[in-house]
């Protein structure tokens, strides 16, 4: 066998391992969610197909799973939206306007993103309690936005700084205001970057756990990750079928986003990380 054939076989084996490694927990989750019993493997019982688990988590009001889903989507969408708007404004100022401390602002944002979440959550809890904001959307949206802003800023600065200055100089000569240049010139050209930031912010907010755990106590603002983590059966036994069905429903939109926008998510992550 030539070196090339050996190489091709190695690559194939690697890809098979890589795919199996990444995907087997999802397949397991899907199988259990569609099975009448979670222990059919060890009991040597045959797999019996059912949709009862999905039915239960999507319709049983006492489980509040649809509430968690709605909270998660609204909170993540709002956080992603604010991140895009606020980071675009700041990134425009940093890349296009001459003001003292531009670079320090960028490195300040980087330094801030290094703080561990646990160092914020205790104080935030007292703060939100005093405001009476426990179990409200704003108690999560505002910290999420602040927490994701540094990464968003870095990604957008990297995109904006690649846009030729001549474009906005021309617009400036035509009498456009800064705001018009940002909305009509920069943002359309940097659309892939804006999409990356939106997707990443959405995913980060959707997956966040510690703030949501500490700042919510019931279904009014509790998000899906916390809901699934604290999922309890009514009769003491862990209802694995229900939990896996809820997990499938939660991961499905994220999996679809990843499959459709893989390129944008990867681009955003590498811009944010590598430039940092």
């Amino acid at each position: 066998m030539s070196e090339n054939t050996v190489r091709n076989w190695l690559v194939l084996a690697g890809i098979v391992f890589c795919l199996a490694f990444c995907l087997f927990p999802f397949i397991y989750m899907l199988v259990i969610s569609l099975s009448t019993r979670a222990d059919f493997l060890s009991q040597r019982a045959s797999f019996k197909f059912t949709l009862d688990n999905f039915n239960a988590v999507l319709t049983d009001g006492s489980l509040h799973f649809p509430d968690y889903l709605r909270n998660s989507f609204l909170i993540s969408l709002a956080s992603a939206f604010f991140c895009v708007v606020i980071a675009s404004l700041a990134a425009y100022a940093i890349t296009r306007l001459q003001f003292p401390g531009r670079m320090s602002l960028l490195f300040f944002a980087l330094a801030v993103s290094m703080f561990p979440q646990i160092g914020l959550v205790g104080y935030l809890f007292k703060f939100m309690t005093r405001l009476g904001w426990i179990n409200t959307y704003q108690a999560l949206v505002l910290p999420y936005t602040a927490w994701i802003l540094p990464l968003s800023l870095w990604i957008l600065v990297s995109y904006f700084s690649q846009i030729p200055r001549e474009l906005d100089k021309a617009a400036l000569v035509d009498g456009c205001t800064y705001r018009q240049i940002l909305c009509k010139v920069i943002l359309p050209v940097a659309a892939p970057g804006v999409l990356s930031v939106f997707l990443l912010s959405f995913i980060f907010a959707f997956n966040e756990f510690m703030f949501a755990l500490m700042l919510t106590t019931d279904y009014r603002a509790r998000t899906v990750p916390v809901g699934i983590a604290l999922f309890q059966g009514l009769h003491g036994q862990t209802p694995w079928g229900n939990i896996m069905a809820a997990s499938v429903v939660t991961t499905l939109p994220i999996v679809i986003l990843t499959l459709v926008f893989q390129r944008h998510i990867m681009a955003g992550l590498t811009r944010g990380a590598v430039k940092g």
């Binding site: 890589c18 990444c22 995907l23 914020l120 994220i254 990380a273």
Partner: protein
Amino acid sequence: MSDITDKEIKAACVFISPLIVLIFLFILVPVLGTLLNSMFQDVAFLDKQFVFLRNFRQLFADSGFRQALKFTLLFVLVSVPIEIVLGMAFAMLMNTHIPLRGLLRACVLIPWAIPAAVSGRIWELIYNYSYGLANFIFTELGITTEPVNWLGTSLGAFIAVVIADVWKTTPFAAIILLAGLQAIPVELLNQARVDRANFLQVFYKVVLPLMKPIIIVALLFRTIDGLRVFDLIYVLSGGGPGGATTSISHYAYKYFLGGDFGYGSAVSVILFMIAFLLSVFYVKAGRFMTGQV
């Protein structure tokens, strides 16, 4: 001319103020509050009292904290190198010219993209003593005759959380490293091939040296992230058995939950300091702060 600069500065202030205000209110103030609080006795239903460094002195005598510290450092020390090596292998696979490469990349991304709490639940079921997938495979293949008590023993739980974390975060390392691989000039690799260097020679002599800065970036990100690990372990093992897999974040969280904000803050401050010192070490090792944006 100065008129334009004034206008620019004014506009800049308006444009950056939302960012500054949000970061100030929801990150800086809480961080400073935590720093301050770490020097107070701040327990629910008791009067707040300044105790200076007493919380920290107490920490060093606290066996629960020492256990959490030891676990967290060991966890980072074991899982991060595995993630970087495996991530490098995945990055090289994702960089080969194969059909459906986009689909492969998306599949690798998925474990990173889903909530850690959900992966924690899936792995909790996989490790289930009586009917989990891990014990089913182990006993079917005859690797062990008895089921393994994954989450009930210290060593089992440690291995369990490391494997789950490797699964969850290797994709992130792979994506960062892939960006580094793509930045290597193709001519350089072709030249090496013309010189009849074999695969391993190319890897050690060309790829690795060029990748050093980006490997350090990946190490830095993974180390800082690993030090503050919380959600995956909180869900998967609950920090048990007997606190064997309780991370520093988790330990601080328990105090916050119990209403002891002074002591919890002190634990968080120690975590800050460890993360900060390690970042400085990496930045020095990489010397990649050359100021280019």
